[in-house]
């Protein structure tokens, strides 16, 4: 029963996955362009962000059409509501990729103050989390979603590491401040990306259980002694 509607839901999910892979690719390209200090490729990432925005609006329109014409209930309604949320998170993820590309343009061809080591690690972690979060949505796998959300701590730890390292550079040699600050923005974008993936994990839990719960509650940082 409701075969046409089931096919529509399947197609909606496929479109969302396609958006997800566009976003993952944008992030990978933005960091790759940074590593190679490739201005052309960075501009390409920024231009491509428009396509991602358009894709997001197209999926949103599909969601609204399905709600209006099919009057979805219960798990169907939750799936569509989740897709609406997830595409918003994905679109914001793409903005982080574009943000990194803009920072690369700012850094330009100026030699790096240090080799990029932890930033590519953050990228790998981000991409892996994104892939698996979307798979968890497809599989409606609550346990996987919870595990992936917990990995946000690893990304936060990498961010702290980069933060400390760049601070050390800046203290040692004030001439590094400008670039170090920019690299810190890059790391910040990568850190926020993982937060968005955590939101996707929350939507997996919501789709399956109907529970809305924050998964990544950040402890307020302790005051330095």
């Amino acid at each position: 029963m409701r075969r046409a509607f089931d096919e529509d839901l399947q197609e909606l999910q496929n479109q969302m996955l396609e958006l997800g892979s566009m976003v993952g690719e944008a992030l990978a390209r933005s960091v790759d362009a940074l590593k190679r200090q490739d201005m052309q490729a960075s501009r390409e990432v920024i231009r491509n962000d428009m396509k991602i925005n358009e894709k997001r609006f197209a999926i949103e329109a599909d969601c609204l059409r399905l709600i209006a014409t099919q009057q979805p209930m219960a798990r169907d309604l939750r799936s569509i509501a989740a897709v609406l949320e997830i595409i918003t998170d994905l679109e914001r993820c793409a903005d982080y990729a574009a943000g990194i590309a803009k920072i690369t343009l700012m850094i330009g061809k100026e030699p790096f103050i240090k080799p990029l080591i932890d930033i590519p690690r953050m990228l790998e972690k981000d991409l892996s989390m994104l892939d698996r979060a979307l798979k968890a949505f497809v599989d409606r796998d609550v346990d996987a979603a919870r595990r992936i959300a917990a990995e946000d701590d690893d990304v936060d730890a990498l961010y702290d590491q980069i933060n400390n390292e760049l601070l050390a550079f800046m203290l040692q040699d004030p001439r590094t401040v400008r670039q170090a600050t920019r690299l810190l923005w890059v790391a910040h974008n990568l850190e926020r990306f993982a937060d968005r993936v955590t939101n996707i994990c929350e939507r997996v839990v919501f789709t399956v259980t109907g529970e809305m719960r924050e998964m990544n509650i950040q402890e307020p940082e302790e005051e330095p002694q």
Partner: protein, 255 residues
């Protein structure tokens, strides 16, 4: 506050079992919708709430139906008084072939109200509560059957309201109506629910979702006809039902 409560309610048409162990507490001054596929027992259940099933020979109810804590199936129940307190609106509007005024005045007259002025007051008040007054006030003498179906159904609601009931049962009250007339009835139910407890049977799930505060899902299986599967706030039942059978039914994937 529960207006109606059933305890282990079973119902039989002859030897055919039609309701199975229904336990439900229907909140006062709210709208409760009964949904479920054909043959799930929802109309039978509704008709148990004012003993309308008594009119069918060889039927039998077991268990309790408590109205304000009093069992309406106890032998000392005055069934006429019960049906005044628990009124009913049917699927097809069924006005009497008489004037609008006489339709609404019928119940109060049966209850012994004869003063023309008092009757006029009751008729006006009832037609206002049913959202029909402005449409008929200039010609209360017109034949009720000359009204549109939607107006006739609101007239039937006015006729129920005229005897000051506590509960209004509605058995698919919109199934003969067009969408606009349907929405008018739904608005009317919402307004009436501040004063009356409303229980509605509907085949239209969207209507249950739109118009009710609580939803009960009923279902029959091979062994047991007329089971209550799930009952809860409408918003919960339609967004995250607890039972898989409810889920399958409301998402249209039943069977």
């Amino acid at each position: 506050m529960d207006k109606i409560k059933t305890e282990h309610l079973y119902f039989y048409y002859g030897r055919k079992q039609a309701l199975w162990d229904i336990n439900i507490a229907i909140p006062e001054r709210h709208i409760t919708a009964l949904i479920g596929p054909s043959g799930c027992g929802k109309s039978t259940f509704l008709r148990c709430l004012n003993r309308m099933n008594d009119t069918i020979p060889r039927t039998r109810a077991e268990g309790k139906v408590l109205l304000d804590g009093q069992d309406i199936y106890s032998p000392d129940t005055n069934v006429v008084e019960l049906r005044r307190r628990v009124g009913m609106v049917f699927q097809r509007p069924n006005p009497f072939p008489a004037s609008v005024f006489d339709n609404v005045a019928f119940g109060p007259r049966v209850l012994g109200l004869y003063s023309r002025a008092e009757l006029a007051d009751v008729v006006e008040e009832s037609l206002r509560s049913a959202g029909l007054w402005d449409e008929v006030k200039d010609n209360l003498g017109q034949d009720a059957l000359s009204l549109s179906l939607g107006q006739q159904q609101r007239l039937c609601i006015a006729r129920v309201v005229a005897v000051k009931p506590e509960v209004i049962l509605m058995d698919e009250p919109c199934s003969a109506l067009d969408p606009i007339a349907t929405l008018k009835i739904e608005d009317l139910m919402r307004a009436l629910s501040t004063e009356y407890t409303i229980v509605i049977v509907t085949h239209n799930m969207q209507q249950a979702a739109r118009a009710s505060d609580f939803t009960a899902f009923m279902l029959s299986d091979a062994e047991r006809t007329g089971q209550l599967i799930e009952f809860g706030p409408t918003a919960d039942v339609f967004t995250r039902p607890r039972d898989k059978r409810t889920e399958d039914y409301i998402t249209g994937r039943f069977g």
